[in-house]
Structure formats: structure tokens, C-alpha cells
Symmetry: C2
Subunit: 317 residues, 2 copies
């Protein structure tokens, strides 16, 4: 089979579902988004997703598989979605089976952060690597791990939750009772809070809307001392969780995507320094810290690529 | 090949080298220990180790392989030992090649904590599991990881350093500049320090020699409130690093060995509680926290078992 094989990738978000056709690692058509809030239960939404797939398949007859990335835990072998917090009626939904029955295509369902990691590993910044850590920095912090050339799923297929790991055993209790979880320090809101407070303490009070990561990176690039200090603090906290991954897994690369990562060098510079200051030689000699190749399309690319591999097609791309 | 195949396991410690013959997962003979401090350089010590092996082989003619567990980083494919801090002349020593040339047997060299993990995975508390975290609690904290049915070695074969992971991003800088490393909180000395301080604060000052983990577990078992509180604090710190492994790797089991683990229920009880309080359902539903099966012989068993597998023998034991 050649890499010209087509697949559909579905990026299922909290508010909308994006669907696209992947060919040789490129999204060649994206369908109009589906608004999840229009649906009161899972089945009608799955049917709408299938209609969108049918529409794409009518124009791209070579589609061989469908992959779906979900914003929640998935039982990988059965493709059962445990629970979605923001979408009505999604408790224990056997999405793989239902979408397969409707579409008659092989369907693969996986957690969205794992799809992002898969996209970077197979098609992006981590191509050819056997060991990598991928994370997305945004409202939350998502992660995916590749160890010894395999995506790590774990005993119950829920591995890779980098955002829930702790950087402070005495920190405040988070969503699952876990103290000091990374997500509670370097999520969008937390960075904004820290910036807002830091400007106030420096006697340069700014409106909260001017303290978002995007504003903060503009200010840092222009040399603003407070903004630079905030990014350094964020990098310090983030480096702790990543350093832990390095000591545990000794990866070749850490790949960072998501909105916050668009801060670029004002984040990556201090992050690299903090990491290298806290690792011994064999852990950092060949370690690379890389920006993700894919941004908004990571979910579609990863889900479609995973679906093709699960359906037995070889990925050369 | 049957599991009756014999192998030599060597547990290379900072002060002495233990050598034993493994048959069906049992150490059937252990040779007199070699004192590492008698040797000024690596070569004479390697020759002495080989003489010990020859002696064992003269009585057990079926020995097929030699495995060595080293207290330091090892380049697994070449069996090169990077550096030993407590033994003279051990910098970049190609132990695998040298011992193979002397013994004419297949030789495997691996980090000692990985050997312990291997022993538990193949012959001990983790038999049949595909995902586990193993750690030894003693003077230091060592670790070994099994992910998707493979021992995790990483890009430079140094993975599994659980003791170096951080539980506090603002903690004191450790051996490699890493802040808040677990080993600096729950090593033997640190537990003794914490106990000594806790008794003093409670107005029940005890001599430092009465504050060791062994004494402390006796006191806790007898109901001493201070000792129980110290073990709870140790369990809390330890649980943070283990919780991080769970969020990242979703293992089936955490297996704990080493001297400190002999504290038993006064440590395992609160540890299990702290862990379960900080994990979401799919991470803890099937999670087991188990004492290691092997204690002093873990290194010999693991190294010998690994050597047999690397030499192509099947382990049924």
C-alpha cells in the first residue's frame, strides 16, 4: 500500500468537531465544523459526524479509515469513550463500534493528546525518533509519550497525563485530589493570573486582558522585564515536570505545541536552560526541545495517521 | 531450551561484589564476596570476578551466560560502564567485552536498579505484568520501569531514575542541580533526620541512632504517635513521585523493595491511601502496590535472568 492512501481524521473538541481528509500527511479538505452543543445525546451527533464523513468520501473515494481524537479517556481496544465533561450524553459511548456500523470503515478512537503526540511522532517534529515526550500547552496541559518506539497507553489506556503530574507535594489539591499538578501552574489562566499579579507587584498594574500569554509574549519580546520574569517562572515550573519525564524515560526530544507554546523563544529559551541545569550528562547530551510542527490540525493528522496504521496501512510520510 | 539453564548473576556494589548461580529463579550457590576496595584499577577486579565465575562454573558446568548489575549508568548495547563513584579506576570501562574475553560466555551489563526491576518483573511480584514501576528504597532511591512489556532504557540507556525526579520545584538543588529530588526526601538519612527532628519537636528527644528507619518502624508498629506521623509524611512525599509515574505510565503495579520498604504496613498503609487520594478512577482501579519478592538477592536474580534472555534463552520461571 502506498502513502497516497486517504483517511479521515476527526478532532472532537469540547464545543466543536473538526473533520478533515488526510493525504500524505496533509489535510487536503476540512469539512464545516459541527457544533456539539446542538446535540442532546451521543447518537445524533455520531450520525451527523458520519454524514460529514459520507460527504467527504463522495469527493475522495479512496478513504480507507477513520480516526477520532477525543477530549477524554478512551478504552483503546474497544474505542469506548468513558466520559466527556462538556458534551451532553457522552458516558460510556462505544464510538468505535457505532461509527464503524454507520460508515463500514475501520474506525480508531484515541485520546486527543495522544493523537497530537502521534502526529508529531509520525509526521512532525519527532519523525524517526524512538523515545519522545509531547505536550500541548493551552487552557490545560495534555501529553503523549513514545517509549521504545511505541505510544505509551498503559494498563487501562490512560497514560500520558503530564498535566496531572505534581511539581509540588505540598501544593493545592487539583481536579483529582492531586496536589501541585502542573496544569494548575502553567495553564492559560494561571499564566494570566501570575502576570497580572507580577505587574501589580512591580507597580505597573495592567488590565487582566493585557496579561494573556499572547500579550505577555509580545511584551517579553519587546524586552519588558516583568513579562520576561513571568516567562522565566513559567519555564521553571514547566521544566520540573519535563525534567521528571527525562529522568524517568530518557527521551530524545520534548515536543511542545498548543497556544502557549506560540510564545516562542521567550518560553523555549529559559525552559531549555532550566532543564539543562537539572539533568546529568547522559540525559541532556542529545536531548532536543522542539516546537511542534502541527498546530490546529494536529488532532486530525494524528487521528487519521493512527487510523491508517491500525487498519494495517504502512505510513511512509 | 528449558528453564533449567544456569546463569551467573553478579551484583556489583560500592564496597563488595556478590556473585551467585541462578537456577529456575533460585540462587543455588553464592560465592564469597569480593571487596572492591582491595583493587586500584578495573582490570584486576574484572580478573578476580572471572576467577570467581570459573570457580562456580567448575561446580556447575551448565552455566550459559553472565549478567552484571552495576551501581551506575551503563551503555547497554556495548556494556560500557560510564563511571563508578566509590570504586577506583572505573571510568568508561567496557566490562561486557572484557569479561566476555576472559570467560568466553555471553555477558550482559545493566544498571542495578534495572536488574532489580527485571527480577521482580520476570521472577517476582510483577510476573506476567506488561506495565510496572519498581523502586528500591535505601540509602538512595533506585527505579526501573516496564512499559508495554519492555524494560524502559531510553535514548541513552539511562531511564528509570525515579530517585532524581522532583517532588518540589522550589526544593533544594540536589546532586545534578535538580531541585526537590525524591532521594533527598526519603533516603535512609533523610528519614532518620526527619524522625530525629520530629521527636525533638514533640518533646521526646531520641538519640539519632534510635531514629533509623528500622527503629522507626518498630516504634510505629508499637503505636508511637510520632513514629506513625513520620511514616505518614514519608509516604506523602513518596506518593507524589509514584503518583507522577501513574499519571504518566498507568502501570498495573508499583513494586517496592530495599531496606526502607521493610517498614511494612506502617509505610505501605499510608502510601496506598495517599496514592489513591490523588488519582482518578482508571489510574487506580486495578493498581496494586506490592512489596518486592526479592531482597538481597534481587541483583543476582535480575542480572542472571536478563543475561539468559539476552543470550536467547527463554525464561519460563
Amino acid at each position: 500500500m502506498s502513502d497516497h492512501t486517504l483517511a479521515i481524521g476527526i478532532d472532537f473538541g469540547g464545543t466543536s468537531v473538526k473533520t478533515g481528509v488526510l493525504q500524505r500527511g496533509t489535510v487536503i479538505e476540512e469539512a464545516p465544523r459541527i457544533d456539539t452543543q446542538e446535540f442532546e445525546s451521543a447518537r445524533p451527533l455520531i450520525e451527523r459526524i458520519n454524514e460529514t464523513c459520507d460527504d467527504l468520501r463522495s469527493r475522495h473515494p479512496g478513504i480507507e479509515a477513520i480516526g477520532v481524537g477525543m477530549p477524554g479517556f478512551v478504552d483503546f481496544p474497544t474505542g469506548m469513550v468513558h466520559n466527556l465533561t462538556n458534551v451532553k450524553g457522552w458516558q460510556r459511548i462505544y464510538l468505535k463500534r457505532e461509527l464503524n456500523e454507520l460508515s463500514k470503515l475501520p474506525v480508531t478512537v484515541e485520546n486527543d493528546a495522544n493523537c497530537m503526540a502521534y502526529a508529531e511522532w509520525k509526521r512532525g517534529a519527532g519523525r524517526g525518533m524512538r523515545n519522545l515526550v509531547a505536550l500541548t500547552l493551552g487552557t490545560g496541559v495534555g501529553g503523549g509519550l513514545v517509549v521504545e518506539n511505541r505510544l505509551v497507553r498503559g494498563a487501562n489506556y490512560v497514560a500520558g497525563e503530564l498535566g496531572q503530574t505534581s511539581i509540588d507535594y505540598q501544593g493545592p489539591a487539583g481536579a483529582y485530589g492531586n496536589r501541585g499538578s502542573l496544569e494548575d501552574y502553567v495553564g492559560n489562566q494561571q499564566i494570566t493570573d501570575l502576570a497580572h499579579q507580577s505587574f501589580a507587584e512591580a507597580g505597573k498594574t495592567r488590565d487582566r486582558s493585557e496579561c494573556t500569554p499572547a500579550h505577555l509574549s509580545d511584551l517579553a519580546e519587546a524586552g519588558d522585564a516583568v513579562a520576561l520574569k513571568v516567562w522565566d517562572a513559567v519555564a521553571g515550573m514547566l521544566s520540573t515536570a519535563l525534567m521528571n519525564c527525562c529522568w524517568l524515560l530518557n527521551p530524545e526530544a520534548i515536543i511542545i505545541g498548543g497556544g502557549v507554546a506560540q510564545a516562542g523563544s521567550v518560553l523555549f529559551g529559559p525552559l531549555e536552560k532550566h532543564l539543562r541545569d537539572q539533568l546529568s550528562a547522559p540525559f541532556k547530551e542529545n536531548l532536543r526541545i522542539l516546537p511542534a510542527r502541527f498546530s490546529n490540525e494536529a488532532g486530525i493528522v494524528g487521528a487519521a495517521t493512527l487510523a491508517l496504521e491500525e487498519a494495517g496501512f504502512k505510513i511512509d510520510g
